[in-house]
Amino acid sequence: MSDTRDLTLRVNGTVHHVNVEPRHSLADTLRESCGLTGTHLGCEHGVCGACTVLIDGRATRSCLVFAVQVEGSEIETVEGLAEPDGTLHPLQQAFWEHHGLQCGFCTPGFLMLALGALRENPDLDDEELRDLIASNLCRCTGYQNILTAVRAAADIMRAKARPAPNP
């Protein structure tokens, strides 16, 4: 299994030239070849969602995708979430304020899961949000603070996305 492929991946707007085995998952490639270790592996069989990233805007388990499948796609990971000057994204800020994380291992996956969904539909109601958050596993928080944080961030993101109407 030592045949490798040269790939060009776009991650968080940056081009990475990598050389990986065809069996290499996107998660392993992000972590080992791109140096982006914010994407975590909790199960490597697609249940826990800790490895969730956005591929062309859609939340995806990066442990279930091969790196060779995503050449040409736009990949987003937790490292790209904050502003370049360090200002936290509203989701990150809300997780912080509402204690939406404890050990922090699942957090990047929840952030990317929520980011993908809220970009697609910023008007998710509480029931839809609960359904969404049930996609991933957290062992520390009991989920309520994650839900509260995502709700709070959604409200801020919606307000930002819709500038106030002209007087």
Partner: protein
């Protein structure tokens, strides 16, 4: 204004939120990778290990025969009833559970190491596996270990005088036989280590996802027969532990051995399947208990026979006594029991080793006491709250039948407060209306105490060879006025660093942002016992407060000299030393600089601002009441938790935001214990539940909002007045949930006795009741 008591967002979070945390796998780059070959069978003679020819550079396979000079892991209790069972690093001539490490494969990537491991075959001449209590305790049962005929590794017995006569005099006798099946702590980050070899010094730095770094260093050095100074253990960011990461596992010994042997850096990052197979499990207990009551519902006596499956080995350092002996000592819980008899046994089987998981025995013993209360109430026609009120501890300090001293608590008050929040009268009306409509609602009450923050006396009483419990903290203010606390505790998600920073900030007159807490690095922190057993806020917190006070005292003396007043007149606040009643101040940072750079001016003071404090408390009891409201669907056996109320009393709250987070997360694990999670071995001892698709960890869909309220009975037994609360959610929730299910199913005369109460168990119980009635 005080920092203690504020809902301060955590100082730990920005790095974790931006993907810049440093978990152990994030340090594996550049290292060789290790994978384990594990026993495919539960029991038998290991006759041969077939190793393929290796022609790839940097690829190695090692078996027990290669580990010359390496000892076994041996957890010791100095009790006459305790049987020592050494745990080999790699299996030698026999295997004792499916998943036991038998060989290691090292290669230049984890994938290559797994490929290599797959080509190694362990030939096992199988024995009939011993898996259950029935197997292990049967007359003439095969011994899992030759050292322990009879398969009981530890046994506590006590029979108080007056137990039998109390039963003779009873108005009612209630008996239960309850079970909790086997579960996994399931930290989302599995175990893992990177052993970094330094060719210059020959030292190894082991980065490992662990809760007890100093203990790991000692254990590794003992087994590898090396000085501790040649080893540095670092627990970086740890992705949850819940008890599973506090034992010395053979995998870490093998990892450090291989790094030293090959003089290379090597990483072992376990996958989920391996975590289910090879890491510790928990629960798997069967408790039989009977209680004698008088006609007013007062308990006269309690008589219990408790079994804990401890698996194939005794976990180091706390030993397999941890579950059975805690059950032995703490079964009475928050209740006044005059006459107590108990027999508690730890039984070895051909299954994965048991080790602590958040709660340790107390989920089962709370379930047991609360079921006794509920069933006695039913039998005697009493209200479930009244029967508890008549038996709860209300005079403090209270000494339990096994000599545990309960400091000031609020057992009855917390229960009454929870009942008010839950509005029981309103619930009973809703329940009646729902039943008329063919829907089954139930409510369950769980009152419990959480022994927490206990130091060496508690562990010494268990006769542990290694007696954990104290903490030492170094507090240093640098010349810029910033503070570093170096602690021996090792937080892994609890937010302890923020809470300690709040404590120290108040003592030193600075802000929490000015306080950096260093933990988890044996080169940088005083020897300590890590984070487990709801101990860190109490013990590391106490030591942090005491060390900070010593630094503050020195600051006051120096400030008094410079401001020409008495030290007692100096107040440290807002970054300033202020003379009380006068308009004179100095910046604390200027005092700190002076004590470092102009120490000659302070003739009576040693230079610098570094102080150490040591704290070893006897312990304290927090208490809480949980009330769960559920709906059971009799047609499917499905259960939905609709509401969950917690009234918690953990003494002084340092950071209520963090305290609530601990409670909510604990309750979620308790609900999982009650309803969902179960590790299943088949009759051959093969683990069937080796993925998160099989092992049902609840999601946001299953966990309801947790309605948390606090009481603050300040502990007279701790320096911070705080009590530990890390495990309470997990301890109390199962009893509340099962109590609620049994309340819901009362019209069917069905009682659920086994956790988790999965739909099939409930459906089966309903069908059995129907068959019986027919």
């Amino acid at each position: 204004m005080s920092w203690v008591g504020r809902r301060l967002p955590r100082l730990e979070d920005p790095a974790l939120l931006t993907g810049r945390g440093q978990f152990v796998a994030d340090r594996a780059k550049g290292a060789l990778a290790m994978a384990f070959v594990r026993s495919p069978l539960a029991a038998g003679a290991l006759t041969e290990i077939e190793v393929p020819p290796i022609d790839v550079p940097d690829s190695f396979v090692f078996t027990a025969a290669d580990l010359f000079g390496v000892g076994a892991i041996e957890a010791i209790l100095n009790r006459p009833d305790y049987k020592r069972v050494p745990q080999p690093v790699l299996a030698g001539d026999r295997v004792v559970f499916a998943g036991q490490p038998v060989a290691i494969a090292v290669a230049n990537s984890r994938a290559a190491a797994e490929d290599l491991a797959e080509q190694v075959f362990a030939d096992v001449e199988p024995d009939e596996p011993i898996l259950t209590f029935e197997d292990a305790l049967a007359d003439g049962a095969r011994a899992v270990h030759p050292e322990a005929p009879g398969n009981v590794l530890v046994e506590g017995q006590l029979r108080g005088e007056g137990v039998d006569s109390a039963f003779d005099a009873a108005a009612a006798i209630v008996e239960v036989e309850l079970r909790s099946e086997r579960q996994s702590a399931m930290p989302l980050e599995a175990r893992g280590g990177v052993a970094a070899f330094d060719p210059g010094s020959g030292r190894v730095t082991l980065y490992a996802s662990v809760q007890m770094p100093h203990m790991l260093r000692t254990g590794l050095a003992d087994v590898l027969n090396m000085p501790e100074s040649d080893l540095r253990v670092v627990a970086p960011d740890v992705g949850g532990g819940f008890g599973q990461k506090m034992s010395l596992f053979p995998e870490y010994v093998a990892l450090v051995w291989a790094a030293r042997h090959l003089k290379r850096s090597i990483a072992w990052i376990e996958d989920r399947r391996e975590n289910f197979l090879g890491a510790s499990h928990a629960r798997d207990q069967r408790f039989r208990a009977k209680a004698a009551f008088d006609s007013d519902g007062r308990i006269l006596a309690l008589d219990a026979d408790l079994l804990s499956n401890v698996g194939a080995f005794s976990c180091y350092p706390v030993t397999c006594g941890v579950e059975p002996l805690m059950a032995f000592a703490e079964l009475p819980g928050p209740y006044r029991i005059a006459h107590y008899a108990v027999r508690s046994r730890g039984v070895t089987t051909n299954t994965a080793m048991m080790a602590p998981y958040r709660g340790v025995s107390r989920p089962m013993l709370t379930f047991t006491m609360e079921q006794l209360m509920d069933r006695a109430a039913r039998q005697l026609g009493l209200n479930p709250l009244d029967i508890r009120r008549r038996n709860l501890i209300c005079d403090f300090p209270h000494t339990s039948p096994t000599g545990l001293v309960h400091d000031l608590g609020s057992y009855i008050e917390a229960m009454d407060a929870a009942a008010r929040v839950a509005d029981l009268e309103d619930f009973r009306e809703r329940q009646t209306r729902a039943r008329a409509a063919g829907r089954y609602l139930g409510i369950g009450v769980s009152v419990f105490s959480e022994r927490s923050g206990y130091g060496t006396p508690a562990f010494a009483a268990r006769m542990m060879e290694i007696v954990p419990g104290y903490e030492t903290v170094d507090c240093e203010m640098d010349p810029s006025g910033r503070v570093t606390l170096a602690i021996g505790a090792s937080p892994h998600g609890q937010g302890l660093k923020t809470a300690l920073a709040q404590l120290a900030a108040d003592r030193l007159g600075v802000t929490p942002e000015d306080v950096r807490v260093v933990s988890g690095d044996t080169d940088a922190t005083p020897y300590g016992w890590g984070t487990f057993a709801s101990r860190s806020m109490v013990i590391a917190g106490g030591a942090s407060q005491m060390a900070s006070d010593k630094v503050a005292e020195k600051l006051r003396i120096a400030a008094a000299q410079m401001l020409e007043c008495a030290p007692d007149d100096i107040e440290l606040a807002d970054g300033l030393a202020k003379v009380q009643g006068a308009n004179r101040t100095m910046r604390i940072a200027d005092i700190a600089r002076a004590l470092h750079h102009k120490s000659h001016l302070f003739a009576d003071l040693a230079a610098g601002l570094k102080e150490q404090a040591f704290y070893d408390p006897a312990g304290t009891f927090s208490n809480a009441c949980h009330i769960a409201e559920v709906e059971v669907e009799p047609a499917t056996g499905g259960v939905r938790v609709d509401r969950f109320v917690v009234v918690e009393d953990a003494g002084r709250l340092i950071n209520p935001l963090i305290a609530d987070g601990q409670i909510a997360g604990g309750v979620a694990q308790g609900i999982a214990n009650a309803l969902y999670e179960e590790l299943v071995y088949d009759e051959h001892g093969t683990l069937l539940t080796t993925s998160l698709a099989d092992y049902a960890v609840p999601t946001a869909f299953e966990i309801p909002p947790i309605d948390i309220h606090h009481m603050e009975t300040l502990s007279p037994a701790t320096v911070t007045k705080a009590k530990g609360l890390g495990e309470g959610g997990t301890i109390g929730a199962p009893a509340a949930v099962i109590g609620a299910i049994n309340d819901a199913l009362a019209p069917f005369a069905v009682a659920i006795n086994t956790m988790p109460a999965t739909p099939d168990r409930i459906w089966q119980a309903l069908r059995d009741a129907k068959d019986k009635a027919a």
